[in-house]
Each structure stands twice: as structure tokens, then as C-alpha cells.
Point group: C2
Chain length 187, copies 2
């Protein structure tokens, strides 16, 4: 029988771990949430060592995501993808910047892989904050970031998506190292 | 309140339109299904002009996908992504080639965009059949394929994913032209 539906879920702990009315005024506090989510996801063994969060222009939290690939049997369920989908679902917009042009920000604990890079282009976020670099991910874990355009930052910037890197990089690296040290598998 | 779940659905007509035990021995018949799905999706106005299907090594149909971006308010819900997720959900594997190394084939009516290109890398398919080219999509519709690595075919082939292009290209182009002619919007 053909499957016609997919149901993707974040772990139940997010409701305890995240204050839904959170406002993060600066980029560092936005990233701190993304990294904290990545750490809890490892501690609770609910997925890979990656977290993400989307904020409105005023810094209000819109959605969160963590990696859910193995628990959900779904290669699409990266942290950034979960954050994009839950934000769009909440706002009922297939692009976050549709209509009103608000500048939503995605904070992600590690550089987006080839899939999440592409998804970022269509998501409607206007700012991308990155913690650990691809080389950190590949140095500290066995995860692979996949093939990106040579000038991936330029490609995003030319499409109106501002990119800021190395925010909380050391804290993000710690979570990656912790995942590897506790025997977390890469896939 | 934070959204912690996303529910993605294919249109109900797929159960009437697709024989679940279908076996497609050759690449042309696999692609014919993907293109037929893209056409029905336009006719029924259930999404954009893109269809996809995944087959096992023996040619047995495993999953289908059509573009559902606007109806589901979800920029992730491209035809290929829906096919990857429903196949992985059905087989309960986060990579289709996990364990037994079977060579699953994705047939997609148009060249994967930057998001679906990256998702293909993690999906576990070993063969990629493409109908219309990116330049067909951009010539006939206002859809944008997004930034890809310069040698995207080589990147896939180096990761063990065989790429065949221009299968049913004219039939796939017809659906794109029909979508544009009936006032279908691009996004």
C-alpha cells in the first residue's frame, strides 16, 4: 500500500525546555537557544547533535527544531528543516517573508548541510546565524556536510539572506564533541 | 504556543491514480508515472507541476510524491521530498540503502532544485532519473531551481548516485507549459 502521509514530531521535552513567549533581542541569545536545544537532544538521545530556532524581526521565538533523522526514519528531518516546517505551519505561509516581508532569522547550531542550505533559499528567512562551521562538524563527528556551491555564502546573500558565522562556535563545538564522545553515530 | 508537529499529506487522488503494486521494468515507464503525477497535480490543482516516484531494484513502486508547497504551507514539500519521506516512512529506514544496499531509483519529472539535490544525497537512492532540465523549468515557468554546485551531476555520481537525464523530457515540458498556460503561480 502507498503511504500518503508523513507525521514529523519534535521531542516532547521541547515544551518543558523552551519558554514559548521567549524574546531574544540579540544574535548571541538566539544562538544560545539553538545550541541549548542541540545539547538537550544529545542528552535525551532524541536525535543528532543539531538544534535550530526561528525568530521574528522583534526577536520573538517562532519555532524550534532539532535533528530527528533516526527516531523518525526520515533523512529530511534535520534541525533546520524541522524549524522551517513548524514555523511555516504555525504562520500558515509557505514562505516566511510572504506578504509582509518580515525579516525572520534562523539560528542553527552548525552550518547547514547541502539539503538545509537549499531549503534555506525557499524558506523565506532573511538572516542565517551559524554556530559551528562545516569543518568543525567534520573534525569532531563523522557527519558529512555534503556538496555545496563553492560560494554558498554569496549565493545566499545575493538572494537577500544575510549570513553571520562563528556565533557561539566554541559552545556548538562542545556539543558536537560530546555527541562523538558518548558514542553517537553519524549517518 | 510552539508547534511541535507537522503533518504532510499527498492528495487523496493518488490512491485512485496509482496502482500500489505497480512494477515498472524500465526507466521510461518509471518516468512516465512521475510525469503523469505532475500532470494530475496540475489538473486537480493540488500543487505545483512536479511529480516523483521511487522504485526498488526490481522496479516495484515504493512511493510517490507531488509538489504540495502551497496547499500545505510548506516550502519543504517538493515532489522529491514527499517521495523520499513516504518511502522512508514505509520502509522504516532513514536511508533507503541502509543494511541491504538495495539500489532504489528516484524518477522526478523535473531536475531537482537546490533543496532536493541536497536531500537526494542523504535519501539513500542510488539512481536518479530526470525528465525536464532546469533550463526547461526556468524557460517555461517562473520557478527558480536555486544555486547548485557547478558539477552537481559529478557530485552525485561520486557519492554512488547514478544520474540519467532527458527521459521523457518533452512530456515533462508539456506539463510545465500547461501549468504556466493555466495561470499557475510560481513561488
Amino acid at each position: 500500500m502507498l503511504y500518503a502521509q508523513v507525521h514529523l514530531t519534535l521531542p516532547p521535552w521541547i515544551h518543558q525546555a523552551v519558554e514559548p513567549d521567549l524574546v531574544c533581542a540579540d544574535d548571541e541569545s538566539k544562538m544560545a537557544l539553538a545550541i541549548r536545544l542541540s545539547r538537550i537532544n544529545v542528552d535525551r538521545r532524541t536525535g543528532g547533535p543539531f538544534g535550530a530556532a526561528i525568530f521574528s524581526e522583534t526577536g520573538r521565538l517562532v519555532s524550534v527544531g532539532v535533528n530527528r533523522v533516526v527516531p523518525l526514519s526520515c533523512s529530511v528531518a534535520h534541525a533546520e528543516m524541522m524549524a522551517f516546517m513548524t514555523a511555516q505551519h504555525r504562520l500558515q505561509r509557505f514562505r516566511l517573508d510572504l506578504d509582509d516581508g518580515h525579516a525572520f532569522t534562523l539560528a542553527t547550531s552548525s552550518q547547514p548541510c547541502c539539503q538545509c542550505f537549499g531549503a534555506t533559499v525557499w524558506s523565506g528567512v532573511r538572516r542565517l546565524l551559524i554556530g559551528a562551521r562545516a569543518e568543525d562538524v567534520e573534525e569532531l563527528t563523522e557527519f558529512d556536510e555534503g556538496p555545496l556551491p563553492a560560494d554558498w555564502v554569496g549565493e545566499l546573500e545575493r538572494r537577500g539572506i544575510e549570513v553571520r558565522r562563528d556565533i557561539g562556535r566554541e559552545a556548538a563545538r562542545e556539543v558536537l564533541a560530546m555527541y562523538a564522545a558518548t558514542g553517537g553515530t553519524a549517518y
